[in-house]
């Protein structure tokens, strides 16, 4: 099983509102978030971190990108009540 397939092996109830964002004025495009994310959400384009539209479907809500960012440019909070990742076998 390759990394992409593995990263898709998750269960969730799709959150309706945003819970992750990047402040482009703070981001310096170091790519720490790109490296750390185990479900390949982040990329860097023109020196800034880019959050794709479908991140709510793929994010594990682990908070590692928010936690690792040296510029504190990423904002993270948990998705709304009763939605988001469901861990059946934690």
């Amino acid at each position: 099983m390759n990394a992409k397939e593995l990263a898709g092996l998750i269960h969730k109830t799709l959150p309706e509102s945003d819970f992750l964002s990047v402040d482009e004025s703070k981001c310096e495009g170091c790519g720490d978030c790109v490296v750390v994310c185990p479900v390949f959400i982040w990329s860097v384009d023109a020196g800034k971190a880019v959050l794709p539209d479908d991140y709510r479907e793929r994010c594990l809500e682990c908070g590692a990108c928010w936690q690792v960012c040296p510029r504190e440019a990423i904002a993270f909070d948990f998705p709304e009540s009763g939605t988001g990742i469901i861990v059946f076998y934690g």
Binding site: M1, A3, L6, A7, G8, L9, I10, H11, T13, D32, V35, V36, P38, V39, F40, L60, E61, C62, G63, A64, W66, Q67, V68, P70, E72, F76, D77, F78, E80, S81, G82, G84, I85, I86, V87, F88, Y89, G90
Partner: protein, 496 residues
């Protein structure tokens, strides 16, 4: 509006034990859990330590369908070619200090079974339990004092005592001003793959040998932990450690023949991919504020040595609930009163885990989380074992080869021991024995004074050999110096 004596944010083991303890003592308690079911947001290594069963009577009633009792743990060491070179196992000691510890190493469970069971105990004790309820912030009155919490639907829940049991990213800690986030060097990220398998196949392939650690120079130390009908395989390191995608390291681990064999023999099928963060702290720092106490991962109580979390969450939940009871009875929820919570956990098994502080941190960073050490530790251990046990030559010849074989490792071994291991050993060791009482000391001096000049001469002569130098320096110096000082003092006194 209804006012609660205690609001517990988070329905994991810390929150449920806090709520159970508080409700049993008569506090009007509510637990707010953001998941649809308790435990559905939580990832664990799966192992409950014997401590959980020693310190909580109700745990002895625990009977979860997917539990596997681990009676043996195995450390596998592999080399730079990703080939397993040596392993060793251990099991509970007959001399372990209490019955559960003599019986098993861990009880491996799924959080999707453990957390709902604990939540039910809290409910039975009288706590109100609300799921699908995410707290977005603590609520403050006009004077700035905390008056409750606000959920993400805008509902206010009133109560001036809050236990934050809401995990490593704690909303209570963030919005009460205790902490926005951890330092990136304080928190690790653990990738975890859950495999499904049948009970029979795991019984046959693994049995009670249900905790496997994989030590390598190619990836940070990994694990395969087995429950009754499935297993977890994963690894982790500090969030700011990764140079390549975590999957690169995970793949290296999965390519190990030993890991493959376990998956094949158990017929394991990947069922779920998980990731979570866990703190590795020198010291837990701030764990309370006005109206707020933090427990479990929210407080940073994961064991700084191997990241065990459930026990510390349960224990701190219990302690925080007891302090909440006192605070409620005395009508004082100020930070200065809740400071007794910190005193309580520092005096408990939680505080004990952090006494090692910087020494444990040095060990974890220097050895545990440092794959580079595997480059020489694995060949060293194997050369030592091989040197003693091989049948390729006569045992006399092998024994003769042992010293020259191991000598090249000495510089790096000594360096690592001194830098990463000795500080830890010193911290763990009992405090140095107290000086003998003056009475005993006087007696010793009287008995020994006739022979001291002789001992001093022996020491001086012994110094000429290498081993004598160590002997005279370490053993004799203090003794002789004290004697010489004393004589000088006597003489000085006489002159004056």
């Amino acid at each position: 509006m209804k006012r609660y004596d205690l609001i517990v944010v988070g329905g994991g083991p810390g929150g449920s034990v806090a709520a159970k303890t508080a409700a049993e003592s008569g506090l009007e308690t509510i637990v707010l859990e953001r998941g649809v079911k308790p435990g559905e947001k939580n990832v664990s290594g799966t192992g409950l330590s014997p401590k959980c069963f020693r310190d909580f009577d109700f745990m002895r009633e625990m009977d979860l369908p997917r539990m596997r009792v681990a009676t043996m743990a195995t450390l596998h060491c592999s080399d730079e070619e990703n080939v397993e070179k040596l392993n060793f196992s251990f099991s509970p000691s007959a001399r372990a200090p209490y019955p559960e510890a003599r019986e098993f190493l861990t009880k491996n469970v799924y959080r999707s079974e453990l957390d709902p069971w604990l939540a039910e105990l809290a409910q039975k004790a009288g706590a109100e339990f609300r799921t699908s309820t995410r707290v977005s912030t603590v609520d403050r009155g006009e004077d700035g004092r905390i008056t409750g919490v606000v959920t993400d639907s805008g509902e206010k829940i009133a109560g001036d005592l809050i236990i934050g049991a809401d995990g490593v990213i704690s909303t209570v800690a963030r919005t009460s001003g205790i902490r926005e986030r951890w330092d990136p060097g304080e928190v690790a990220m653990i990738l975890n793959v859950d495999y499904g398998a049948t009970r029979e196949s795991i019984d046959r392939a693994i049995g009670g040998n249900a905790l496997h650690y994989w030590y390598s120079s190619l990836f940070p130390v990994g694990y395969t932990f087995f429950s009754a009908e499935g297993f977890h395989a994963g690894l982790g390191n500090y969030v700011n450690w990764w140079k390549k995608s975590p999957h690169y390291y995970l793949k290296q681990m999965f390519e190990l023949e030993g890991v493959q064999r376990q998956i094949d023999l158990c017929g394991g099928k990947p069922r779920e991919f998980q990731n979570h963060m866990v703190t590795f702290l020198l010291d837990p720092k701030t764990t309370y504020g006005d109206s707020v106490m933090l427990v479990g991962d929210a407080a940073g109580f994961a064991c700084p040595f191997e990241a065990e979390g459930v026990y510390y969450a349960m224990y701190s939940g219990m302690l925080a609930a007891k302090v909440a009871l006192e605070a409620h009875a005395g009508g004082d929820t100020s930070a200065s009163f809740l400071g007794r919570y910190e005193k309580a956990w520092r005096d408990s098994p939680i505080g004990e885990e952090f006494i090692g502080g910087d020494a444990i941190d040095g060990f974890v960073r220097g050895i545990g989380f440092n794959p580079d050490v595997g480059r020489w530790v694995v060949p060293l251990l194997n050369d030592a074992a091989y040197g003693l046990l091989n049948v390729a030559e006569s045992h006399t010849a092998s024994a003769r080869n042992l010293v020259p074989t191991l000598t090249p490792y000495l510089p790096v071994l000594v360096e690592t021991l001194v830098r990463d291991l000795m500080p830890l050993a010193n911290k763990i060791a009992e405090p140095p024995p107290k000086k003998p009482s003056p009475k005993v000391e006087r007696l010793l001096r009287r008995v020994l004074s006739p022979v001291l000049p002789f001992l001093a001469r022996r020491a001086a002569r012994a110094k000429k050999s290498a081993y004598g130098e160590v002997l005279s320096d370490v053993v004799m110096r203090d003794f002789v110096q004290t004697y010489v000082d004393e004589k000088a003092k006597e003489a000085g006194g006489a002159i004056r």
